[in-house]
Structure formats: C-alpha cells, structure tokens
C-alpha cells in the first residue's frame, strides 16, 4: 500500500513514452490498398435480424448486408435489387417477381424460398416483429399477426426457385418502394434452420448484399467487409466499413475533426452555427420524408372545437421555430405531405399560409373570443415535449407565441419513453410529435389522421369525410388519380385543423469531403456500395 518514489517514476515514464510515441499510424490502419469507411451511426442497433429492428441506424447496417427485391440507388431512388423482372395482374392484386441469379455470402444460391420464408417469419406472432405492419399490404398478413390464421396462409408463394408470386389485400402501386424496406429482406433459411436465433452472430450470419458481417464488438463497433459473392461486387469500391454507435454527437464531431470518423449522423444540433461557419463542405442536407408537428388532444375540451384548433395553428409561428431555434435546415410546413413524395401532386396548404403575421394573430384572437376566451379569461392548458435542449427552447417560444392569443401554457417536459406512453394513453392536452415515413407514399403520412389508426392518431382526430376520402384514394389503381384523391383528403384535414404542422426535416449528416458519392436524399439512405474514399 505504501507508495514508492520508484513506482511513480516508472508509471510517469510509461505514460510519457506512450504519449510521445511517434504518431505514424494513421486513423485507418490496414493495408494501403484497402479502402475503409468509418461511419458514425447514431446508436447501437437493437439487432441485425431484420425482423427485430425498427431504427434507422439498424437499417443503415442491414441495408449494406441484405438486398431486397428492390433497393436504393446512390440518390435513394428505388431500383431493382434481387428482382430482375416483375409483372402485375390486371386487377393489380397479384405481382410476380423473377429473381436474379445470385448467392448468399457462403455460396448458397438465394432462392424464392428464402424470401417467402423471411416473410412468413416476419408475420408469425411468435417472431414478435415490431415492424410486421409494413407487410400488411400482403394478403392475410394482418390476420396472421393477430394470430387468427397460420403464417403459411400469407399471400406469398414460390412458383419455382427463382419466381415469387405475391397476392395483395388491395392495389398497392407503391409496392416496389415498399419492397426496399428492411422487413422485406430475404433471410438465409439454411442458416436460421441450423443455428436458430444465433444466426445473426458474426461467423454465422450470411448475407446477399454488398457487404457481410465480420465483427460486432457491442457498443464499440460493427465491421462489415465486402461480399465478394455480391452480384455487383465489381463495382463496390469500399472494402471495409465500420459503423460506430455515436450517441454523443458532440464527441462524434471531435472524432470527425480528428479524422477518426469519415461520416457522422446526426450532427450535434448545438454546434450547427460552428459547422456552417467552419466546415460547410461537410454538411450534407436534403429534406427528408418526415413531419414535425403538434397534436391537440381532441378527446379533451376545448380541442374538439375547430375554432380553438385554428387559433392555435394561426398563432404558431413556424418560421421563428425553424429559423431561430432548430436551424437545421428544416422547411416550415403548412401542410402534411412533404415535398418530394412520389406520385403526389402536392399543393395543399393551410388557408392562412400567405396571410401576414399580424392578421393571423388578429384572426386567432377573434376565434378564441368566439370560443369563450379572452385576455381576462385565458385558456389554461399544458404542452408536452421532450427534455432535449432544443425542444425546451421551442416550447418556451410556443408559450410566448400563444400568450398573444389568450393561452396560458404550462410546459411539461418528459423523458421520451414517458412522453410516448402518455401520447398512447391520450394523457395530454397538446404535445409535440414527429413522424418519419417508412416508405415513400402519401398514404404513409395521411394515415396518421384516420379514425382507424388508433395507435398513431395521437390526437384522435376523427372525420367520416376524411376517412372516406382516404379510403377512396387507397383503393385507386391509377397512380395520377390516386395522388389527386389523397390530395383531396389532405385538404379536408387541413381545413379541419386536425394538427399543427411545424416543419419537414432535413438530413443531418456530416461527410468528409474525401468521401465521394454521398448524395443526400429524401429517404436519408446512403448505401456504402455507392461510396468511395479518396483521401488526398
């Protein structure tokens, strides 16, 4: 226990030597010819089994490992993946896909059976897949998830080893788009049947995409290496890609600046000004298919009153929130379906979009008076938001904005998990909320407001007219007509002030200038197979 001078001297020397050692090794060790990409990837994926994941950061890794019937190109657009040919029946209810000849990374051929097996597994109640609902357009999928009929009754079957026939519940013109989603990836049946749940472990996992799993050090990194059996491997430039769970985005920015990371998602919001001033070339932004909004609990008074909802909407200053508080390239939103959604004409907006601010406030005040409120009788209510610093500042700004229209807002800050639980139970007055689309279709935004969507329709907006319009659009086969019908539905929701839209988000990725081929896109998907690292 006694300290000796000698010990201290030795220790000090050790550290000094270690610290002063020549700094020959660059951040990327390995052979000079090997091209490596270090991706800062938000957080640890919950799994690499496509049936067990639901996060974007898991999807980034799975999308490098697996190839669905369709996949994304460098710009995030849908292109054929494992399917080379497809045809649709006249009633649009049956699709046939012909697979390309390709192999799992262990050399076993990928068959139609692997896809059908994966889909059966996905909807099997025993799998308890969080995202099984993505497959609901498949015939019988929902009934299987509900446990009413066996997984084998799913409307998907193999015609032969290379051909899949898929029956749908209703025409789904965006099916190719849906089939890029991770829940539709094939899984290696031969491995799952021999290894069970351990099939996702490094050493067991085989994949059919551009990369294959090499190492998973929990909460440290996940390394994928190029899959030489990938059908297009000749055009894949990066040999090794390492994904890091970078929960602390400020620390990740320092790692990026030190050259330890080549890309980082998300950027630290607090440092956006510094980023814009110092490393603007690394900021890769594009609007994404998302909507930040505010829900009003229409099960509670007075939010069942459209006049109050309109007043809140009028008094909500989107530009201040996006330009002064969030500042991450968000686009102020005056409607529900973001720009860039496929097969959608767009053009709907709240009627007050072009009204000057002073007039908006005057009208909001008048509406509040009609509803029985005024300067002496303010509406006392609560606003639920997350405890993130920006959310806190935004809430304070909203409190201020609505004070002008006779609302005394109490801010309730809750940890994410608790806030979602309360949204679910309709235990709130007004709350911030956000939606990021699962697939590129207007229905994936407008379904948030249907009466039948008990889960995600947090505010319980309910309108027969809206539901009818939504249903009519969903059933339409002609893409142009369908888009028009969805637009009608959106107009109804905006007229009813079903929600308060705030903004459409932008991608929040930082990319070193020497990483080539990174095109920010609406899906926020950048598969490593399209990238290359060209260090100066």
């Amino acid at each position: 226990m006694l300290m000796r001078r000698r010990d201290f001297a030795i220790l000090a020397l050790t550290f000094a030597l270690a610290a002063c050692g020549p700094n020959a090794e660059a951040p990327t060790e390995g052979a000079a010819t090997e091209m490596v990409l270090h991706r800062g990837n938000t957080a640890e994926p919950e799994s690499l089994d496509p049936s067990q994941t639901s996060t974007l950061w898991a999807a980034h890794i799975e999308g490098d490992l697996f190839l669905g019937l369709y996949t994304e190109d460098a710009e995030g657009k849908t292109i054929p993946g494992a399917a080379v040919e497809s045809s649709v029946s006249e009633d649009s209810l049956t699709w046939t896909f012909h697979l390309r000849d390709h192999l799992w990374s262990d050399g076993t051929p990928v068959t139609a059976g692997d896809f059908v097996f994966a889909w059966h597994r996905m909807v099997d109640p025993k799998t308890a897949a969080k995202y099984a609902s993505i497959l609901y357009p498949f015939k019988n999928a929902q009934a299987i998830v509900e446990g009413k009929i066996p997984p084998s009754s799913l409307g998907a079957r193999t015609i032969d080893d290379k051909t899949i026939e898929l029956e749908l519940e209703q025409p789904t013109p965006f099916l190719p788009e849906l089939l890029t989603h991770g829940t539709t990836y094939p899984v290696p049946r031969h491995i799952i049947e021999s290894k069970g749940d351990a099939w996702v472990r490094p050493g067991n996992l085989v994949s059919n995409g551009a990369y294959t799993l090499s190492e998973w050090a929990p909460r440290d990194h996940i390394t994928l290496v190029k899959n030489h059996r990938f059908y297009d491997s000749a055009n894949v430039k990066i040999d090794r890609v390492v994904f890091y769970p970078t929960e602390d985005s400020q620390a990740a920015l320092r790692r990026l600046r030190a050259g330890e990371l080549d890309t980082q998602d998300p950027l630290p919001a607090q440092q956006i000004d510094w980023i814009r001033a110092n490393i603007p070339e690394m900021l890769k932004q594009s609007p994404i298919l998302s909507l930040d909004y505010v829900v009003m609990n229409q099960m509670r008074k007075p939010f069942d009153d459209v006049r109050v909802r309109e007043a809140l909407n009028l008094g909500y200053d989107r530009e201040t929130l996006t330009n002064v508080i969030y500042r991450l390239g968000e686009v102020p939103a005056y409607n529900i379906v973001p720009p860039g959604v496929a097969n959608y004409p767009g053009g709907a907006s709240f009627a007050f979009k072009d009204t000057p601010k002073a007039e908006r406030i005057a009208r909001a005040q008048a509406l509040m008076r009609q509803a029985g409120y005024g300067p002496d009788k303010p509406l006392r209510t609560t606003y639920m938001t997350s405890a993130l610093p920006d959310a806190r500042r935004a809430a304070a700004a909203v409190q201020d904005m609505w004070k002008e229209i006779y609302i005394e807002l109490e801010i309730v800050q809750l940890e994410g998990q608790i806030a979602y639980a309360r949204l679910k139970e309709q235990d709130f007055d007004i709350s911030a909320a956000a939606w990021i689309a699962d697939f590129n279709d207007a229905s994936n935004f407008l379904f948030l407001l249907t009466t039948s969507n008990g889960g995600l329709n947090y505010g319980r907006y309910s309108s027969e007219e809206y539901d009818r319009a939504f249903k009519a659009a969903s059933g339409e086969i002609d893409l142009a007509k369908r888009g028009q019908l969805f637009l009608e539905a959106e107009k109804i929701a905006l007229r009813d002030h079903a929600l308060i839209t705030r903004d459409f988000r932008s991608t929040r990725t930082l990319v070193q200038p020497y990483v080539k081929g990174w095109i920010p896109n609406a899906k926020d998907v950048n598969r490593t197979r399209w990238l290359s690292v060209e260090r100066p």
């Binding site: 226990m1 006694l2 300290m3 201290f8 220790l11 550290f15 270690a18 610290a19 002063c20 050692g21 020549p22 700094n23 919950e46 799994s47 690499l48 089994d49 067990q52 639901s54 109640p125 025993k126 308890a128 969080k130 099984a132 609902s133 929902q142 998830v145 446990g147 996702v200 472990r201 050090a217 929990p218 909460r219 440290d220 990194h221 890091y244 769970p245 970078t246 929960e247 602390d248 400020q250 620390a251 990740a252 320092r254 790692r255 030190a258 330890e260 940890e415 994410g416 998990q417 608790i418 979602y420 639980a421 309360r422 949204l423 679910k424 956000a434 990021i436 008990g454 889960g455 995600l456």
Partner: protein, 314 residues
C-alpha cells in the same frame, strides 16, 4: 477475522435480495415500457411482443419468473440489444470498465498520496497551499468539461512539444490499446487524485502531530523512516475506507467518460438501459454493482483491521 468475513458475507444475501426486489419493482413503476418508441405499435403487434417477453403476465408472476432464472445464473436476454444476453453484455463491458477504472485508480493513488504527503510535510507553506488549491480545482471541474477540453487539445488540434507529435485518439476503444486509454484514464483519474490528495494531507497532518510520531523522531529515526514507516501507516487509513466504494465506482464504469470517448464499458449500459426501460439489463447491472460494492466494502473493513490493530470486529 474469518468468522467475521463469513458473517458479513451471509448478511449480504438478504441485502442483495432486497436490492433485486426493489430494483425490479421500481423499474416497473417507471412509466413507459421497453417497447414504447417513437412509433406507437399496432395493438396486435404490441400483444405479440409482450407475450414474447412475458410482459403480458401479472407483475408478481414476472418477478418470480425472473428470480427463478436468476437462481440458475440466467440474467435473461437484453430487451433492447436482442442479439446478446445480459450476461454476455456484462461480460463484454466489464473488462473494459475494470481496465480503465483500475488504471485510473492506481494512477490516482500514486499521484494523490504523493501529493498529499508532500503537502502535509510542508503544512501551511506555499507548497502546501498550491497543491491543495490545485486539488480543489481538480475536484470542482467536472469530467464533462475536462474530457472535451483534453480531446480538443490532444486529438483535434494536436500537441507538438520539442518536435514530438503528441496526438491521441479522440475516441474509440480499439481493444484497449494504450493510446486509446490515455485520455480517458487521465480524465477519470484527475478528480480522484484531488480527493485522495486532500484526504491524505488531512490525516497525515493529524498523524504527524501525534505522540508516537514525536517519540519516533525523538528516538533519532531519519525523517524518511518516520514518515514512511510510522506516519503513513496510520495516515493512509481514511484512504482505505474511501477506496472501496471508489474502486467499485470506477470499475463499474463512468457514463460520461464512456459516452464522450465512445468506450464500450458497462457504465453506459446502466444509464441507457434505464432510459430505454431495458429491464433485464438494468437489473443485471444493479445486481452486479451491488455485489461488487458489498464485497469491496468488506475488503476495505478487513484491510482496516490489518492496518490498524486498534480496530476490533467482535
């Protein structure tokens, strides 16, 4: 002594059991569950997930299922990192935290005691004041300040002294490479050095004024022998009781340091597990942490007895 150790160990079992029970029910009282996410799940999917994790059973039944598994040494699968069991996660995170924590505590002990004794021997002189001022600063500056500062300095800007390039990795574990450990160890050790220096100085000052030290000096022993043989033995006692919990704390990982440096230790598991309502992971870490504290406190008490013959445990 042996019977004392056995008695203490047996006494720890009910404590541990109470901790498990409290932790289990407190986790469940917290609103929100492991599968309440950004997206509300359709009810049928939620039902399937709850069934898969036994969350549909009454709470007391879940508790007994958990205890039953625990008795067989099974901490269950992590709710949030499904490809790994809780045991596997602790097994992968613990060595990292221990390696980092122990290095930091050894470093802190060496430097801290040295500074403390040094200051005590020069009581109320400039050297004493400067060491204690620096120590006070060390205690008050939090790790979330020192860590980013040091990483900016040594990682982003790079330090060049006498033509030597001292650039260190900003983050990552790299399987525990020395280069990756230097900054996190320093950040962890700094506040400990400060605490240990102050503790040591305080008790050394007292001991140096005691009768037996005066006797030793009167016998004509060299100053070095008086300090190392007689004064330090008693002077370091308060440190022993401090070290038990300190080692437990450092070995089980520091959330902030692990988060900032991207180190895969178990400190992150604990806090993230709690925020995510990863019930099994949190319970696993709680049980582990409680056991460690109980053990290290026991060791500290026994050491105390060894160092100070006046202490009796009867």
């Amino acid at each position: 002594m042996l019977s004392y150790a056995i008695r203490r160990t047996l006494g720890a079992i009910p404590t541990l059991f109470l901790i498990i029970t409290f932790a289990f029910f407190m986790m469940r009282i917290a609103p929100g569950g492991p599968f309440d996410g950004e997206r509300r799940l359709p009810p049928e999917i939620e039902a399937n997930i709850n069934a898969a994790y036994n969350l549909d059973k009454p709470l007391y039944e879940q508790y007994f299922i958990y205890l039953g598994r625990l008795a067989q040494g099974d901490f269950g699968p992590s709710f949030k990192t499904k490809d790994f069991t809780v045991t596997e996660m602790i097994a992968s995170g613990l060595p990292v935290s221990i390696k980092l924590g122990l290095t930091a505590i050894v470093l802190a002990l060496l430097i801290g005691t040295f500074l403390g004794v040094f200051a005590a021997l020069r009581q109320n002189r400039p050297a004493d004041y400067s060491v204690m001022t620096i120590a006070m600063v060390g205690i008050t500056i939090p790790t979330f300040v020192t860590a980013p500062l040091l990483t900016l300095l040594f990682g982003v800007y790079g330090v060049h002294i006498f033509g030597l390039d001292i650039t260190l990795p900003v983050g990552g574990w790299n399987n525990g490479a020395l280069r990756n450990m230097i900054l996190p160890v320093i950040v962890l050790a700094l506040p400990q050095i400060a605490v240990i220096a102050r503790l040591t100085r305080g008790s050394m000052v007292e001991v140096l004024h005691s009768n037996y030290v005066r006797t030793a000096r009167a016998k004509g022993l060299s100053s070095w022998r008086v300090v190392t043989r007689h004064a330090m033995r008693a002077g370091l006692l308060p440190l022993v009781s401090y070290l038990g919990p300190a080692i437990a704390g450092l070995a089980t990982g520091s959330l902030i340091v692990e988060q900032i440096f991207g180190i895969p230790g178990i400190g992150r598991y604990f806090v993230q597990g709690a925020l995510n309502r990863d019930y099994t992971l949190v319970l696993g870490v709680v049980i582990f942490y409680a056991t460690l504290i109980i053990l290290l406190n026991l060791v500290a008490d026994i050491l105390y007895r060894v160092l100070d013959p006046r202490v009796r445990y009867d």
